[in-house]
């Protein structure tokens, strides 16, 4: 019996050789339970060792294996070849990011953004270890838990045209994480973080396209975080003259 195969078309780019990206098609043995990641791994192992991509966990939690699969930002480890077979699958580095090589994008910009949002608890009331844990009811947990589920896979950035048009936009995932800390009952630094929300790189770059939430593999709903913060920012903008301390500085 002839083995079944499937064609995978990969957007290749080698900074030391190519002026611009080009497409290359590989024929890969196909089984029903193979993920796109496994297909790409097969290429690397047996057809072309120079193909570069990131991956690790294979279980949709480490966030490294994001790729455009037939034009849609996806985690390649939880996208299955069977959903395309027998048609060809097109694989490309995540949109809107600079391509370092093949399917590897540059993460530098995102990491800077993540660092800029102060992604840590700045306690409302400091507590010593002897005092034990902060009390936090399941409802209080629920207020931010969804936003804390972000695996930094950057699919949402690849989905967001406003980020593509303006790479300085802080963007969906970073704002979701910012929001996660702002609404955590233990945190007291919302005012500090609002400065970034309010800034020209902040939430108002978003035109509520909403595709970021559509592609998010972890149900974070980053669009919700961004758009809630438009309201917060607008309130802050207009009310700063009224509030005793003038809202955020």
């Amino acid at each position: 019996m002839a083995e079944k195969t499937i064609e995978i078309e990969v957007l290749r780019y080698h900074p030391e050789k190519d002026r611009e990206p080009h497409r290359q098609v590989f024929e890969v043995p196909f089984t029903d339970d193979m993920s796109v990641l496994q297909g790409v791994q097969y290429i690397k192992d047996y057809l072309d060792g120079s193909l570069s991509f990131r991956w690790s966990c294979r279980m949709a939690i480490c966030g490294s294996c994001g790729m455009m699969i037939n034009g849609i930002p996806s985690l390649s480890c939880q996208t299955f070849l069977r959903d395309y077979y027998p048609a060809r699958v097109r694989v490309e580095a995540l949109s809107h990011f600079p391509i370092e090589r093949d399917l590897v994008i540059s993460m530098d910009g995102f990491i800077e953004k993540l660092e800029s949002i102060q992604p840590y608890i700045i306690p409302k009331e400091p507590r010593t270890l002897e005092q034990g844990e902060y009390l936090q009811t399941p409802e209080q947990l629920d207020a931010y838990e969804q936003f804390s589920s972000c695996i930094n896979c950057l699919l949402c950035y690849a989905a967001c045209p406003q980020f593509g048009l303006n790479p300085d936009f802080v963007g969906p995932a970073a704002i979701a994480l910012l929001h996660r800390y702002n609404v955590d009952s233990r945190d007291g630094a919302k005012a500090e973080r609002m400065e970034l929300v309010n800034s020209e790189e902040g939430v108002f770059n978003c035109t509520a396209v909403g595709y970021c939430s559509e592609v998010c593999p972890k149900h974070v709903d980053p669009a919700n975080a961004v758009n809630q913060n438009k309201t917060n920012s607008a309130a802050d903008y207009f009310l700063r003259f009224l509030a005793p301390k003038g809202g955020a500085k």
Binding site: K17, I61, C62, S64, E100, I121, E133, R186
Partner: protein, 595 residues
């Protein structure tokens, strides 16, 4: 070559490495810390841990119970003084994580909730739904951003340690994005590179879990301890090996064979009851459960699937609502990867390699015999897991001993004098030449993937759940052969930017070293203990000859030399390791004899 001068360099940005970095920063904010990781820290494999992290929390629980569970679970091959320190510091560390923002699941009144876990007498496993490792790792990573003293070298691949004047004084790393080398000088070095599960075929580990740090220390003369103890997790996805957390059983899941029978009751874990009971049935320890699977398979009572035999993990009786709340990730994994709705259909599972109990030999303060070198996390053997790790002890270990390693490395750094930069540079250039040679050489004809596959297969054949001298010997021989063939490996890609083929070759060499230590240590341990079970006349535990830690020493161009070190026993004399009703009886007897 770029040089960066740090005080402490940490290799590994997983839970242990990040916790260590924060500990250094908090113990002395003036120290410069370099955190080197081959992946962005939040990609580290700690991210995949699902079930939870142990720490005594309830009134009904005690440090003594946690101690006894751990030492008994480890089949008495634990360093008991270290276990004592460990259990005494788990809760504090988990509370610290809570203060840093970890979204622990809560009870209705707002306290942190705990769940049951295998081999644990009382519920003491803190959890954040079924994404505990994910939340711990992101909390640690994001918190680490607060400390300006921590300079990260993300996506930098460490290729060697530099040792000078009898102490370690830095590391050499490749910047993956450029292919260029950096020397990070430091007065002390912490290795936190995680486990080595990927030397096996079917495993729960991520692609990055290749034992690099173990191999680095080993090649510099630090022994790897207890490497024969490799944990098989009983409930993994056939084919890929992806994990269904033990919390599935903690929440009340059943394991049934092809007749729908809860077979664990036949292996000293009964009686079978409808509700989960700690240390009974499905909540027995992993080694026992994996062994029971093996016997079921021998008896032909497993189910044949496309990826080998399976049994069923039955969660149906828990109901969709509870599954979605407590085990949401598991629900999605089953749906997406297997097309199984766990509220309606049992999940096919089989054992797969999960955890490396052994590792870099360190004392209770995380110091290795090589001055200035510390290790923490799965790559280390600090002595708390013995012959079998209990689920949820490892995440706690990352925090407790990550911190210890950080504090100790900071202390060492402050007391040690500066190194001689010129000679460190010289060494680093030699490292660069050696590693570049691997890429530049031509004419090789061995494929990386082929060697890797053969290694993984032979490890599975020889060092599986049950072991025989003959097959272990075959595995040892095969590994020797693979090491020889590695000299002939072909790296097609000669370029600099993001040359992952080159990195895979370097990893493969690390893996072969680590695999050898596992196979040879296993061959030499002529008894059955914990995760190391033999069927060739050594079916019993042998405390007279083998209540000892194995130590594998590096021998250039040869097989590792195995010798043994003592086990520290303080409070708990080796006893029978019993679970289920027998376990309960044994405990009562023990209590009675203590008066």
């Amino acid at each position: 070559m770029e040089t960066y001068k740090a005080d402490v360099v940490i290799v590994g940005g997983g839970g242990a490495g990040l916790r260590a970095a924060i500990a250094v920063a908090e113990s002395d904010p003036t120290l410069k810390i370099a955190l080197v990781s081959k992946v962005y820290p939040m990609r580290s494999h700690t991210v995949a841990a699902e079930g939870g992290s142990a720490g005594v929390k309830q009134q009904t629980d005690s440090l003594e119970y946690h101690f006894n569970d751990t030492v008994g679970g480890g089949d008495w091959l634990c360093e008991q003084d270290v276990v004592e320190y460990f259990v005494a510091h788990c809760t504090e560390e988990l509370t610290q994580l809570e203060h840093w923002g970890c979204p622990w699941s809560r009870t209705p009144d707002g306290h942190v909730n705990v769940r049951a876990f295998g081999g644990m007498k009382i519920e003491r496993t803190w959890f954040a739904a079924d994404k505990t490792g994910f939340h711990m790792l992101h909390t640690l990573f994001q918190t680490s951003i607060k400390y300006p003293a921590i300079k990260r070298f993300d996506e930098h691949f460490c290729v060697d340690l530099v040792v000078e004047d009898g102490r370690v004084q830095g590391v050499v790393a490749i910047e993956i994005a450029t292919g260029e080398f950096t020397l990070v000088e430091a007065r002390s070095v912490i290795i936190a590179t995680g486990g080595a599960g990927r030397v096996f075929r079917e495993n729960t580990n991520g692609g990055v879990v290749t034992g690099d740090g173990m191999a680095l220390a080993y090649r510099h003369g630090v022994p790897l301890r207890d490497m024969e103890f490799v944990q098989y997790h009983p409930t993994c996805m056939p084919g890929t090996g992806l994990l269904f957390t033990e919390a599935c059983r903690g929440e009340g899941g059943f394991l049934v064979n092809k007749d729908g029978y809860r077979y664990l009751q036949d292996y000293g874990l009964g009686p079978a009851e409808p509700l989960p009971r700690n240390k009974f049935m499905e909540l027995g320890p992993r080694d026992r459960l994996s062994q029971a699977f093996w016997y079921e398979q021998q008896k032909g009572r497993t189910i044949e699937g496309p990826h080998g035999s399976v049994v069923h993990l039955d969660l149906r009786h828990l109901g969709e609502a509870k599954l979605r709340e407590r085990l949401p990730q598991i629900y999605e994994l089953a749906e997406q990867f297997l097309g199984v709705d766990p509220a309606r259909t049992p999940i096919p599972v089989r054992p797969a390699v999960h955890y490396t109990m052994g590792g870099i030999l360190v004392d209770g303060r995380c110091a290795s015999p090589l001055p200035g070198l510390y290790a923490a996390g799965e790559c280390s053997s600090v002595g708390i897991h013995g012959a079998n790790r209990l689920g949820s002890n490892s995440l706690s270990e990352l925090c407790v001993f990550g911190k210890v390693a950080g504090v100790e490395a900071a202390r060492f750094a402050k007391s040690a004098g500066p190194g001689n930069s010129t000679s460190l540079q010289k060494q680093a250039r030699a490292v660069e030449q050696r590693v570049m040679a691997l890429k530049q050489k031509t004419g090789g004809n061995e494929r990386i993937a082929t060697l890797r596959k053969e290694m993984a297969q032979t490890m599975e054949d020889g060092c599986g759940i049950y072991r025989l001298a003959e097959t272990m010997q075959k595995t040892c021989d095969k590994l020797d052969e693979l090491k020889a063939r590695f000299k002939n490996v072909n790296v097609e890609d000669k370029s600099s930017v993001w040359n992952t083929e080159w990195l895979l070759a370097i990893e493969l060499e690390y893996q072969l070293d680590v695999a050898q230590t596992m196979a040879y240590s296993a061959l030499h341990r002529r008894e059955s203990r914990g995760a190391h079970q033999r069927l060739d006349g050594f079916e019993q535990r042998d405390d007279v000859n083998f209540l000892k830690h194995s130590q594998a020493h590096y021998v250039a161009d040869g097989a590792p030399r195995i010798d043994y070190g003592p086990v520290k026993i303080t409070k708990s004399q080796p006893g029978t390791r019993a679970y289920g009703a027998a376990g309960e009886k044994a405990e009562q007897e023990r209590k009675a004899s203590h008066g």
